[in-house]
């Protein structure tokens, strides 16, 4: 069942095995065996019959119903998509009573929130957090620490 070397001729047995596995669309077969398969199709009517048989099964399998996502699932998935984060909005959310804060503390919070949101730490390919939420998480953590220290 090993792949035929590229440019070699394809045996009818191998042609049948490929049709058995990959179905009746030669474009779906391993790339190195497609040209040889097409050459055999041109040369041998039995290859055509094998392909027709495979295509009949393909057509039947395409009749299976496909689960379609509902609006609720689509909405949940979209809600997790990255969003543009404005540092002013993030700061407003973190520090709702900032009007009562001393100016140096506000400036420090704004500076650190901006640095956190501007930072582009590389993410592991399978990390669950988006770039923006990692940065926002850093800003939130800073805010919580500050509140703890000030006893607020």
């Amino acid at each position: 069942m090993s792949e035929t070397p590229m440019n070699a001729t394809l045996s009818l047995e191998r042609f049948a095995a490929l049709a058995d596995a990959y179905g009746g669309d030669v474009d779906a077969w391993p790339v190195g065996e497609r040209d040889a398969a097409r050459a055999l199709l041109d040369a041998d009517d039995r290859a055509g019959a094998i392909l027709a048989d495979a295509r009949a099964l393909d057509a039947l399998l395409r009749e299976a119903p496909v689960a379609a996502p509902d609006a609720a699932l689509t909405g949940r998935v979209l809600a997790q998509a990255p969003r543009r984060v404005d540092w002013r909005d993030a700061l407003a959310e973190l520090l709702p009573f900032r009007a009562a804060w001393p100016a140096p503390a506000l400036l420090s919070a704004a500076l650190l929130a901006g640095l956190a949101l501007g930072g582009l730490a590389p993410l592991d390919e399978f990390a669950g957090a988006t770039e923006a939420s990692v940065a926002l998480g850093d800003a939130i953590a800073f805010g919580e620490d500050w509140l703890e220290e000030t006893g607020s």
Binding site: Y22, A28, L123
Partner: protein, 196 residues
Amino acid sequence: MRDADPDSPDAEHAQDAALLGAASRGDRRASRALVERELPRVLALAERMTRDRAEAQDIAQDAFLRLWGAAADWRPRARIGTWLATVTYRLALDRLRRARRWSDAEMPEIADPAPGPDAALIGRDRARAVDAAIRALPDRQRAALALVHEQGLSGRDAAATMEISEDALESLLARARRRLRQGLAGLDAPEREKIG
């Protein structure tokens, strides 16, 4: 997602990277376009693997969460669809194995199969019969069939996803299709007549 010439640039990879890059910067149109394009396929694969609609929805949501996480650093080395299919497959497999609902065992080939569905079945009943036959496949055969024939992965990518050789994948596919051909013997005759 069929095998392309590995030495030529893949314009589709570059387009995917641009779309995902835009989504990573909060472009809602880009993220919506991605979801509309890929979520149906992800859900279909998850449901084919788990045979459970609710579980498939959880897996689909998890797969996209991982895509959003990878979006900012996406490199055009794979199609998004292929990447998502691989992630979905592995998420589903992990969940099924932990629940002991996955078997790597192969059933013996059916020497004398029971009669298949009535050839007179039409429409929705016919579709259900096909779906039931696919759902009844052994787990690995069903997964191989889903990855190649429903998701459109190349044999090479499907084998890599399942962490098996291409020969092993071909064997799974051939056994799956033989089992389906036997199980649906009464149904395929009209299609054969149309093509022949």
